[in-house]
């Protein structure tokens, strides 16, 4: 029983990592940007939701939609302000990483001011808190929500990217801008829509993470590290890879935490990251588009 419950715990937190990782991966595979500001989008997704709940007082589902939208718009603005100039000037990887650090620092301070740097949480009653108990295994409704939502969203993203014309266009841009132009795709539109999509998914992951607990302006950084581990393990450029990477991390963490030692859980996670980087250069499920060695 205990182990089953723990596995479910792992899957639920993992599904949140997974969603973040997918958001992270979209940006990387389309814009070749390792966006360190991605974690802040998650924080803001949660923040916008919080303000929608407390200031406007709309129901949770609506607040969440507002939060997701806010995060998506934020991501687009950040992309156009910070990364678009770099793309135009053709300043590569390092430049983008540094720029994303800039965005990260600035936005985190904004979040700190908005929250007075104190812990906040969704007001009571706004989200379902009860837990369902099935044969001695108790599952939180928030966990059910997290797992089902991310399953739906990730599938949707997968279908959008790999089964639709828009997705094909987006991936074409990611693969080779110039040839994309030749086949009549406007790279900028595609990049903006990629940023929008990634921001939305990331924001949702943030909302689900803090749902039912308190959070503060640095919450997103945790997701950043775990999500980064997830994408590395799952492989960039592959939606399903990143997703499974996230779930894997979640389960591995939970298991090591409850059956080995929580003290070393980060060492285990990121040790795994190194192993994958070195011995599975494309991630466990990565695509050939991204060769790392």
């Amino acid at each position: 029983m205990l182990i089953i419950e723990q596995i479910i715990n792992g899957i639920s937190i993992g599904s949140i990592y997974a969603m973040f990782a997918v958001g992270f991966g979209i940006v990387f595979s389309t814009m070749q940007v390792l966006n360190l500001a991605q974690g802040v989008y998650a924080t803001f997704g949660a923040l916008f939701t919080y303000f929608a709940l407390t200031l406007i007082g709309v129901p949770f589902w609506l607040a969440a939609i507002l939060g997701v939208t806010g995060a998506a718009i934020l991501a687009v603005i950040a992309d156009q302000v910070a990364f678009e100039p770099l793309r135009r000037k053709n300043i590569g990887m390092l430049g983008a990483i540094i720029a994303s650090i800039g965005v990260w620092i600035a936005l985190e301070e904004v979040a700190s001011i908005l929250t007075d740097a104190t812990p906040i949480g969704f007001p009571s009653g706004s989200i379902p808190r009860e837990s369902i108990s099935i044969g001695g295994v108790s599952i939180l409704q928030t966990q059910v929500l997290a797992i089902s939502l991310s399953a739906i969203v990730i599938t949707a993203v997968y279908v959008l990217l790999h089964r639709s014309r828009v997705g094909a266009a987006i991936r074409a841009v990611g693969f080779d801008k110039s040839s994309a132009m030749i086949v009549g795709v406007n790279p900028r539109t595609m990049i903006v829509s990629a940023a929008l999509l990634s921001g939305a998914v990331t924001g949702l992951s943030g909302i689900l993470l803090v749902g039912g607990q308190s959070f503060n302006f640095t919450t997103g950084n945790v997701l950043l590290l775990q999500g980064f581990a997830a994408v590395v393990i799952g492989g960039y450029g592959s939606v399903l890879g990143a997703a499974l990477g996230g779930v894997l991390i979640g389960v591995v963490q939970t298991m090591s935490q409850s059956f080995i030692s929580s003290a070393f859980q980060d060492a285990i996670t990121f040790g795994l990251v190194l192993v994958v980087l070195l011995y599975f250069p494309r991630g466990l499920l990565g695509t050939t588009e991204t060769v790392r060695a």
Partner: protein, 413 residues
């Protein structure tokens, strides 16, 4: 009047506005210098504020440095400490605690609880002979960095927040932090006696020595009441997966679960246990106090006992004076961080009183070393042992009350 303004600009509520002002200031700054800095660790600092009050005319205004943390990860607590300290300055001067017409004048420098920044600013304060003492530090590493500077320059320091064991090192480093360790032990003992607790399990954040030592004191307390220890679940800072820790802890099947973690993690754990329908007694620790904590999770935090040294609703005369002054200034009741900030300044005042007509670092140091007990603090009469303040008598077991989130004495179910 200057003091009033400075006080206002420092209340948390006004922070956003200050931010805009600061922003403008910085912009002009950047325009001037044409270059700037990025450092996600060191943070912004308050303009040097020196507030003087009318009593100053008769005697001398004695400068005491204070490292503020209005920004950075601890801005929440930092603001409370600072607000309390400013009231401390106000009351020390109004009551003429120091005597000889002398008044205390806080030289406030923002250091955002960052070790490097704090060491730098401390060096600046230490370099000015006018500053006879320094009050600071919420985080233990910061306290360590500042202590190094202070020991070098022979500057007496009072630490008001850091809880790691062994930080108080006379002759220069003293600590008025009301050590949660003692409080936890008391809580453990009294709570078990009141409720006839049989067994308890522990959730401990293992990568924070201060917290670990707090959990030790809980264990000592419960053990002394003969409660059975059913095991410990470890968590780490920046924990995301509270649910699994909760599952493990609940699985230990204890009548009560005692949580030792820093604020965010403690709140998260309480919530997870609550959501997992844990039917036993959840026991918190002092980190559960603070602005916004209750609102962050009212359902879960209701009825979770935790120890505090200070409770606005149950105060002695000195405490009442503090509460009134604080309320008059900020329109809210002080939390235990504010109380610690206040008390640090009050003790500093008491020490200055014993430091002669013209206090110097040397005389203040001697006075602090000679200090064995201070009567009339908001914690009652407090004792000093090896530079550490003890106020065990004033420990209170409290919990948040629904719906308004006021902290009230805890009533055993």
């Amino acid at each position: 009047m200057k003091s009033k303004r400075s006080l206002h600009s420092l209340t948390g509520r006004k922070r956003s506005r200050t931010a805009i002002v600061g922003l403008a200031a910085a912009l002009s700054m950047v325009l001037v210098t044409g270059c700037g800095s990025t450092d996600s660790d060191t943070s912004t600092a308050a303009p040097t504020e020196t507030s003087t009050t009318e009593e100053a005319q008769s005697g001398r205004a004695i400068n005491v440095g204070l490292l503020a943390a209005e920004t950075g990860p601890l801005a929440g607590a930092g603001g409370a400490f600072l607000s309390g300290a400013l009231i401390g300055q106000q009351l020390v001067n109004e009551t003429g605690l120091i005597g000889n017409g002398n008044t205390i004048n806080l030289v406030i420098q923002e250091a955002s609880e960052d070790p490097a920044r704090s060491a730098t600013v401390a060096a600046q304060i230490a370099a000015d002979e006018q500053n006879v003492g320094l009050v600071c530090c919420i985080l233990s590493p910061v306290a360590g960095a500042v202590s190094a500077v202070a020991n070098r320059d022979g500057l007496p320091v009072i630490l008001y927040g850091a809880t790691q064991p062994g930080l108080a090192q006379p002759p220069y480093i003293f600590r008025t932090t009301t050590m949660p360790q003692f409080a936890n032990e008391t809580l453990g003992r009294e709570l078990s006696e009141e409720t006839g607790l049989k067994s308890v399990a522990y959730i401990v954040m293992t990568d924070n020595e201060g917290i670990v030592s707090q959990s030790e004191s809980f264990k000592a307390g419960f053990a002394s009441a003969g409660v059975e220890d059913l095991g410990t679940v470890e968590i780490v800072a920046k924990q995301t997966n509270f649910a699994s820790a909760a599952t493990s802890a609940i699985a230990l099947g204890a009548e009560a679960i005692s949580i030792s973690a820093t604020q965010a993690e403690a709140v998260g754990m309480v919530a997870a246990l609550y959501d997992k329908n844990y039917d036993g007694q959840i026991i918190g620790l002092e980190t559960l106090t603070g602005v916004g904590v209750f609102d962050s999770n009212p359902d879960a935090l209701d009825k979770v006992p935790f120890p505090v040294y200070f409770l606005p609703s149950e105060v002695n005369e000195a405490g009442q004076r503090f509460v009134d002054a604080y309320n008059a200034e900020y329109g809210t009741l002080p939390d235990s961080f504010a109380a610690q900030g206040f008390n640090a300044i009050w003790v500093m005042g008491a020490a200055l009183a014993g430091a002669g007509v013209e206090p110097t670092r040397a005389s203040l140091g001697e006075s602090l070393n000679a200090l064995t007990e201070v009567p009339g603090t908001i914690y009652g009469t407090v004792k000093f042992e090896n530079g550490q303040m003890l106020a065990v008598e004033s420990v209170k077991i409290v919990s948040y009350s629904k719906p308004d989130g006021v902290i009230v004495p805890w009533i055993a179910p």
